[in-house]
Subunit: 123 residues, 2 copies
């Protein structure tokens, strides 16, 4: 389900952007590629430290857009590639997904779990 | 107007995320730090190759959110920092701003010009 090239991008250093729909416009937060874990069933788990506005937005509308990119992975038109991920998100504060996140990031107050609907290479 | 640390981030390799409001939710596109030019009056100029949906969204609502980040610049809580920029955007296809972009990126069909309303360090 997750393209090999996307996995390769996540192995390289980079910034993840996560967009949600707020009442007065889009909301955008960041995390690091290295913080993203992938579950056996192909979801993304991201530690949430703050992300209060993201959590509030997801409670109304759980659609998220996520971008990742790396200059170290070959792209369509040259060096460097990026992906746009469309998915749905949940904030998880108990159970195995939360435990997985908490084991690595003890500061996390929740696991942001992303079910991928599509992952499109953009660069 | 533009924080020194933000300029430092842009000098390092990284991915820029640009969010706009679409009719059915946020829209997110990427570019590279190295593609961003800064005008004498403190605006950001970004070459637009595709970005058709971004252009259409801006025609209805010119508010944009932009994130940048680098692990190479010291942050609030450790190595690595990021910024959230709120601004207004214009697509420019003639005149000096377009010429500036076109001189460096001959594939650009427009200059996406961002007037910064706020730039907040998030990491």
């Amino acid at each position: 389900m997750i393209p090999e090239k996307l996995l390769e991008v996540l192995k390289n250093y980079g910034v993840v952007a996560i967009a949600t729909q707020g009442h007065d416009g889009p909301h955008l937060v960041n995390t690091w590629h290295s913080y993203v874990q992938i579950t056996n069933d192909g979801r993304l788990l991201i530690p949430a430290g703050y992300m209060q506005q993201t959590e509030a937005n997801i409670a109304s509308n759980n659609n998220v857009l996520i971008t990742v990119g790396s200059s170290k992975v070959a792209g369509i038109n040259g060096p460097g590639t990026g992906f746009l991920i469309k998915g749905t998100a949940d904030f998880i504060t108990t159970g195995p997904d939360f435990d997985t996140i908490k084991a690595k990031f003890n500061w996390a107050r929740a696991a942001l779990a992303i079910t991928i609907l599509s992952a499109t290479q953009t660069l």
